[in-house]
């Protein structure tokens, strides 16, 4: 490779060193994400690593076609920069889904161009063919799955599960088998581009078929899983292209997505295969519906003025936010309420369930946007023992994650799911639009608890009303 004319900058060893520096910076950058004070710098360190990796690639002596590169980068920058600058924090889950999708899209397009360039992997070592095909299938699944997730979160596609019914899993299995079979045929020596395109189409349909049946509340798991998929497909591309930076970066993302997927599934007490197989508790919805009639307990409703009094004279208040807060964009109103309470020497903290919202950490981002101090945000393990000495728990748009049935009722579909134990606090105020059960269609026993009062209304205006009433006390 060391042609006499080639400059030192194009020496492959030198380029490999740059790639090694790049992935070391990725790892160092991610280490920074272990705390809020080091996180900004960590992200920038990773970005520097990326810049080095790109520069190393552009120094490659085979590099050419600068016009096409400039064109692609210009289009990507023109789309990506304004999107990243303007997206609202409440829209972050769909933004992440979209960014994840384009990554998967890039992976399968790269595999496709490799296939075409080599005339159908002619004279290509078998292992390279296999990794390219793996990247093509997984990248395509990730691209289409992420787009559907984006559509659901953006409400272009209904958030409710869309299924083929009982045949869904069978159809998914057939699509997977067809995609893999096409891949095997290509690896075994077929050079047919039709077969390759057929494989991509099967993978695309599979991506659609897997995500369409998944409901909104399961989105945190799906987004994490798709994130893992894109990472693994990138790592496979790295092996096919013999590029260490791609391998390391892709694999770390794969590990990250896997950890998050697992955390989310544990926080819902559900197995990953069960979620991918689709439809949160078809049986659960039925059971919830019958349960609704059985519940003879009374629901007490309250007013903003009464809630304000209760909160003002509390020593300790815990706010439990859920997806309802995000939908109503109530985070700033909640922060204002907190400030008013703190002026009255009330100790306020936030208890956040791992699957609250539509992606891991969704609530935390919204509250951080509203300037809630980091140390007031409590994770579930930290928050639960504290409820017993809490005077008032204020539940804003959260439902299933507070349902005591998860601990007490073995017949409940969510039995075993870890919850925020708000029913341990002295009093509970629930802000909710109506008595409609949550996404899972399960009646929430918390609402019938004698110490619970319901404040019906939109989260944002209800919280603003309480804040206004506080001023009159």
């Amino acid at each position: 490779m060391n042609l006499p004319m080639a400059s030192f900058l194009q020496d492959t060893s030198f380029l490999d060193v740059l790639y090694i520096i790049a992935f070391a910076l990725f790892i160092q950058g991610l280490r920074g994400l272990s705390g809020p004070t080091t996180a900004v710098r960590g992200n920038r360190i990773a970005a520097v690593g990326m810049a080095i990796a790109v520069i190393a690639t552009l120094l490659n002596q085979n590099e050419g076609n600068w016009g096409l590169i400039v064109l692609g980068v210009a289009i990507g920058t023109a789309v990506g920069v304004p999107a990243a600058r303007q997206v609202k924090m409440t829209a972050m889950p769909q933004m992440v889904a979209l960014f994840n999708g384009v990554g998967g899209g890039a992976v399968f397009l790269i595999s496709w161009s490799e296939f075409r360039l080599s005339g159908g992997f002619v004279d290509t070592p078998t292992y390279i063919t296999i990794f390219s095909l793996f990247a093509a299938i997984v990248g395509s699944v990730s691209f289409w799955g992420s787009n559907i997730a984006f559509g659901k979160l953006q409400e272009i596609i209904p958030g409710k599960p869309i299924t083929l019914g009982a045949g869904q899993q069978f159809v998914n299995l057939i699509l997977l088998v067809l995609a893999v079979a096409a891949g095997v045929a290509i690896a075994a020596g077929s050079h047919s581009e039709g077969l390759f395109i057929g494989m991509l189409i099967c993978a695309a349909l599979l991506g659609n078929a897997v995500v369409l049946p998944i409901g909104g509340a399961d989105m945190p798991v799906v987004i994490s899983l798709l994130n893992a998929f894109t990472g693994l497909s990138a790592a496979a591309t790295g092996i096919a292209l013999n590029n260490p930076a791609l391998i390391v970066a892709g694999m770390i993302v794969g590990a990250s997505g896997t950890i998050l997927t697992n955390l989310m599934a544990v926080a819902m007490n559900r197995s990953i295969p069960a979620i991918v197989a689709g439809g949160f508790g078809g049986g659960g919805a039925v059971e919830g519906a019958s349960g609704a009639g059985e519940h003879a307990g009374t629901v007490r409703s309250t007013t903003a003025a009464d809630a304000a009094i209760q909160l003002a004279y509390a020593n300790r208040v815990v706010i439990v936010p859920g997806y309802g807060m995000a939908v109503a964009q109530a985070q700033h109103a909640v922060r204002e309420l907190t400030k008013e309470l703190e002026k009255r020497q009330v100790e306020v903290s936030y208890a956040i369930h791992p699957v609250a919202g539509r992606m891991p950490g969704h609530m935390n981002v919204l509250l951080a946007e509203a300037d809630v101090p980091y140390d007031q945000l409590k994770e579930m393990e930290e928050a639960n023992p504290e409820f017993q000495r809490t005077d008032v728990s204020l539940v804003i748009g959260a439902n299933d994650v507070t349902n005591p049935a998860a601990k007490s009722n073995p017949s409940s579909p969510i039995y075993g799911m870890p919850i925020l134990e708000v029913n341990d606090s002295h009093a509970v105020i629930v802000i909710k639009r109506s008595m409609n059960p949550g996404f899972a269609g399960i009646e929430n026993e918390l609402y019938y608890d004698p110490k619970t009062e319901m404040l019906f209304g939109d989260a944002k205006s209800a919280v603003a009303d309480i804040t206004a009433e506080l001023a009159n006390i």
Binding site: A83, M92, V107, S113, G250
Partner: protein, 108 residues
């Protein structure tokens, strides 16, 4: 022999990277999981390199050029958008000297 050693070297890198990934990511608190996701999103945008490498090879026809430009555009969206949006989010998590009413709109 060279091919085999390239494969095994790369597999070794893959496996080690997986273990490092698990250790490093396990230390990220729940609170920062959204920035973690968007940050790792940006990192897997590194597939951009694949597009850059292949577009330089000779023998690309028109159709290939089109899909590679799309791939490079996708990768760039992923990298640039991912890092920017993560930066925006993480800035909000930094403790501020004086808590104002509206945050998160800091732009350079």
């Amino acid at each position: 022999m060279i091919l085999a050693s390239t494969l095994t070297t790369n597999l070794a890198i893959l496996v080690l990277a997986g273990f490092i990934g698990f250790v490093v990511i396990s230390k990220v608190p729940n609170t920062l999981h959204t920035p973690l996701m968007s940050g790792t999103n940006a990192i897997h945008g590194i597939v951009l390199l694949g597009g850059l490498l292949i577009v330089g090879l000779s023998g690309n026809g028109t159709f290939n050029k089109i899909i590679l430009v799309i791939a490079i555009a996708f990768g760039t969206i992923n990298v640039v958008g991912g890092f920017l949006v993560t930066d925006r989010m993480l800035e909000m998590f930094k403790s501020k000297p004086k808590a104002g009413g509206d945050g998160g709109e800091k732009k350079s």
